[in-house]
Symmetry: C2
């Protein structure tokens, strides 16, 4: 295992978008803003703030404009938003978003189910958005179901590489490979990430994993070993997948940072502060969250020596 | 990442010992026996059946004799028991146990707290047990807190290597490195396992991890890459650590097998059967268990195409 001590990594927070969008109850705008402001001071590289999509489609993020315009903008943090089309892009730019995150699926049926469009139509929309933005914001393009699809099953590596090529042909320089439903395994992650890194060494590549089947952090490890240095994660492990009720959500930010810190990587993130913020989540969302380190404390935690053995 | 397709791995089940011993309520003897009998037919290499310790110390395993004598003995499965001393060894041998698992801690204070003995006293007991057994059962020796101690903190690698050397000097040929309280990280696991494999290439080495801080499966991956091929795990992720209430338990057997299968390893384990058995656990122990794959289904699970998109 190559551990590259103190290698710089970029931790990208998605809880307030990927997490909150599927919460059973609406998180009040004020609470969203407070949470994002707190997260802004932890050393995260990017925060995906919200999604400029139809409020009917995602009622929990109906306050996209309010949140994006009212949060503090801390230097060094990139404030991103998910955007499905030119209309969403217009709304996001009006709020002075730093980065637009476009998305489509690597598999036919998931794209239809999630976006009501064929993949060709999605690519056409990508082109329109890229033209529309015309340099006014950074662009990242996410590829959902890049490691497998709940409807179509296996997604050939060639399909993923072809779609990344199409992104790059449009001038997109930052891509996220997303394991949307938590089906990726570390061997597969190593293969795909190595293939992408080999073909496009200068691509800004993000790995986005879900812990649905307990492979979230193992996949982070595999991507890391393949040279990936940017990771999406969600505070408390919020998020999840409508296809796996009861299962875990996205990779948990503080658990990921804790592991990477312990391994000697430079995440730039203040773990104690992140843990403090994470411990507010159960009250914000009204239920327990999957994150482990917030419950167990970091590996450096010490316990008092039991009295019974003090004098043995 | 070296994935060594179809490399044979040995999966060793500890739920009925490491898991049940800390359950808040006693699991009836009959249910233990039924569970072990079911597990015996899944392809597991070893089952740690019980612990021949004082019923006062671990009331949940007070039925050690009954369980060990009444379970079916399926060929190809090694039936082991944890044993603290000669008296426990006598009891275990009377029940025709295949393997005795001895244990002590790599750290001073944990050994005192757990065994009310110094490490020197523990090593002396090991010697007595080895002499007493005199070849009538196989012997494995476990080293608790090999990756860190909740009282003493860091455990130097040299201490671990020295203790393994002492085991080997007594004639012990099988050793488990145990991350008793879930503090190990993958870089550390890689270092320690590589050091042990390099110094004693023929040692039968088991890695025993807890998922207390979400590093269970990442650590399995790291140990695997260091050449370890034997892993302890606990059905449903039962088990845990008295120091981290609310946190996850041992590495979950079915989640581990699912990941290793998906990566192309030969675990020998029938995953669908294991999942069926795991789904009985919440009723047996009276609470939800941490395992993810039993909830989400394996990565190969497919969902019907939504009607709304069938004709797009």
């Amino acid at each position: 295992m190559s551990t590259s001590p103190r290698k710089k990594l970029y931790i990208q927070e998605v809880s307030v978008r990927d997490g909150f969008q599927i919460e059973p109850r609406f998180v009040p705008t004020e609470q969203k803003i407070e949470l994002i402001n707190a997260l802004s001071h932890t050393g995260l590289a990017k925060i995906e703030v919200t999604s400029f999509t139809s409020p009917k489609a995602i009622p929990n993020l109906a306050d996209a404009e309010a949140v994006m315009s009212q949060i503090d903008r801390v230097e060094g943090v990139l404030y991103a938003a998910l955007v499905p089309n030119v209309r969403g892009c217009e709304r996001a730019l009006a709020c002075n978003v730093d980065e637009i995150n476009l998305f489509m699926s690597a598999s036919h049926t998931h794209n239809l189910a999630n976006l009501r469009m064929t993949q060709a139509q999605s690519l056409e929309q990508f082109r329109q958005v890229v033209d529309y933005i015309d340099g006014r914001a950074a662009i990242n393009a996410s590829l959902s179901t890049a490691f497998g699809c709940p409807f179509d099953g296996e997604v050939p590596e060639a399909t993923v590489l072809d779609l990344v090529q199409r992104y790059i042909d449009m001038g997109i320089q930052a891509v996220s490979l997303c394991d949307t439903t938590g089906v990726a395994n570390p061997a597969q992650v190593a293969r795909l990430c190595n293939a992408v890194k080999q073909r496009w060494p200068d691509l800004v590549l993000t790995a986005h994993f879900h812990d649905t089947r307990a492979m979230g952090l193992p996949n982070v490890l595999a991507a890391l070993q393949a040279g990936v240095d940017r990771f999406d994660a969600s505070l408390g492990g919020l998020g999840g997948c409508p296809f796996a009720p009861g299962a875990s959500g996205n990779v948990c930010t503080e658990d990921m940072v804790h592991m990477l810190d312990a391994m000697g990587y430079d995440t730039g993130v203040d773990l104690p502060r992140l843990l403090e913020i994470s411990r507010l989540l159960p009250e914000i969302v009204g239920h327990d969250v999957p994150g482990q380190v917030a419950k167990a404390g970091p590996y450096t935690r010490r316990y008092p020596v039991p009295d019974a053995v003090r004098n043995i």
